[in-house]
């Protein structure tokens, strides 16, 4: 393969760890919680990244449920705020990431977990047994990125109709969609479905109802 030309649209800044972010919040400083987690799950936590005072804890897939249980039951992070997936779209590293945002309402703390997933095996254990709030978020993640959640009671699509077969948040899905994947209603009373999303531009306007042929009855 020929070496691709390296081209950046803008000069890329690297993150400076020592730079003080003016929007840092006290609530995201969870260093002591992470220490506890590290002690309890030495193999479960692969990395901890800090940016803008926010800690992102990378956990392995096998220990995700255990860590969530510990967060909920012993550390007080009982409120799931957000759950979503990210498509990294790279070849060299795990392609998908799913992040979980938990809040401890009484201690006023916020923590973020992240799990990396391979492209060939985008399966995660569901945490709906622990947090009911994860239900719709996991369904949305499945709809948008095609990540399967094992043990989810009702893994249907969240937004798109079941008749659709793609996962639009993936980077390879074109922004304008795939023509013909979502049919439009027929343009004539007896006609077939419109598979062309730009039918108005190519086929004239739809018939008016008074143009229909005489009734046989």
């Amino acid at each position: 393969m020929p070496e691709s030309l390296k081209f950046h649209f803008t000069p890329v800044d690297e993150a400076h760890a020592d730079e003080k972010n003016v929007h840092e919040k006290a609530s995201t400083d969870v260093a002591d919680t992470i220490d506890i987690l590290k002690k309890e799950f030495p193999d479960g936590i692969s990395d901890v990244v800090v940016y803008a005072g926010e800690y992102t804890v990378f956990v392995t897939r096998d220990s995700l449920v255990e860590i969530c249980t510990a967060l909920k039951e012993t550390l007080g992070f009982s409120y799931l705020v957000d759950l979503a997936g990210v498509d990294r779209f790279t070849e060299d590293a795990p392609r998908y990431e799913v992040y979980y945002c938990f809040v401890n309402i009484h201690a006023k703390k916020r923590i973020r977990l992240k799990v990396s997933l391979d492209e060939d095996d985008p399966v995660l254990p569901s945490i709906t047994r622990l947090f009911k709030a994860a239900d719709w978020n996991e369904r949305e993640c499945y709809d948008m990125l095609g990540i399967q959640f094992e043990g989810h009671p009702d893994l249907r699509r969240m937004y798109m109709p079941e008749d659709f077969e793609f996962h639009p948040q993936r980077k390879e899905f074109p922004l304008l969609g795939i023509p013909g994947s979502l049919p439009l209603p027929p343009r004539t009373p007896e006609g077939g479905l419109t598979m062309d999303p730009f039918a108005a531009a190519r086929q004239g306007s739809p018939v008016k109802s008074y143009q229909e042929p005489e009734s046989e009855f």
């Binding site: 969609g177 979502l182 209603p185 343009r187 018939v207 008074y210 042929p213 005489e214």
Partner: protein, 190 residues
């Protein structure tokens, strides 16, 4: 009008059109942000009751003007079309806002790029969202359109008076775009 005898001559068309145009009952297909401006259009300040259209009918069978307000997703398109098919003739449609007219700023996989891809539209309103004044203007345009229609003399809803109308459009239209089937019926084809 003759004041001594007290009668008035007019055409049936004029009376019917006058009645129709001043009592349009909108079916608010409120989908997104434009629906809020549509509420303002029916609300106290802009008061569309002045134009006889304050009675919003949420049942398609009681309405004759559909206002599609907001972007229309592919998933919703079939519901809109079904509601439109349930409305009784004669009926008119306003595509309110850029999204309903052409997809607008939402040029992406979920949004139909203009509702005229699957249903006929009479008036398009630009704006994102249009101000209520613009919606009132569109309503007045529809009224104008109704007043210029031949509602009884050429009532196509109970079958076409012209056999030619059943022909495909290509057979009826002349090279310069005139409609042969309408000749002699008094219709001026613009």
């Amino acid at each position: 009008m003759d004041s001594a005898t007290g009668y008035l001559t007019t055409t049936v068309d004029a009376v019917v059109n006058w009645a129709r145009s001043n009592s349009l009952m909108p079916m608010p297909m409120g989908l997104a942000c434009c629906a809020i401006e549509m509420m303002a259009f029916g609300g106290p300040k802009y008061d569309v009751g002045r134009f006889g259209s304050e009675a919003m009918r949420f049942s398609p069978r009681q309405a004759d003007l559909m206002i599609v307000a907001g972007w229309c997703s592919y998933k919703m398109a079939h519901a809109i079309r079904r509601v439109w098919d349930q409305m009784a003739d004669p009926k008119w449609c306003i595509a309110m806002g850029a999204c309903a007219s052409s997809g607008g700023m939402h040029r992406c996989y979920g949004v139909v790029q203009g509702i005229d891809n699957f249903m006929p539209v009479d008036v398009y309103i630009p704006g994102c969202p249009p101000r209520p004044e613009a919606v009132i203007h569109a309503l007045m345009d529809i009224q104008e359109k109704i007043r210029n229609e031949y509602s009884v003399t050429n009532d196509y809803s109970s079958g076409s008076p012209h056999a030619e109308l059943a022909q495909p459009e290509s057979a009826r239209l002349t090279a310069d775009g005139r409609d042969l089937s309408l000749n002699g019926s008094g219709l001026v084809h613009a």
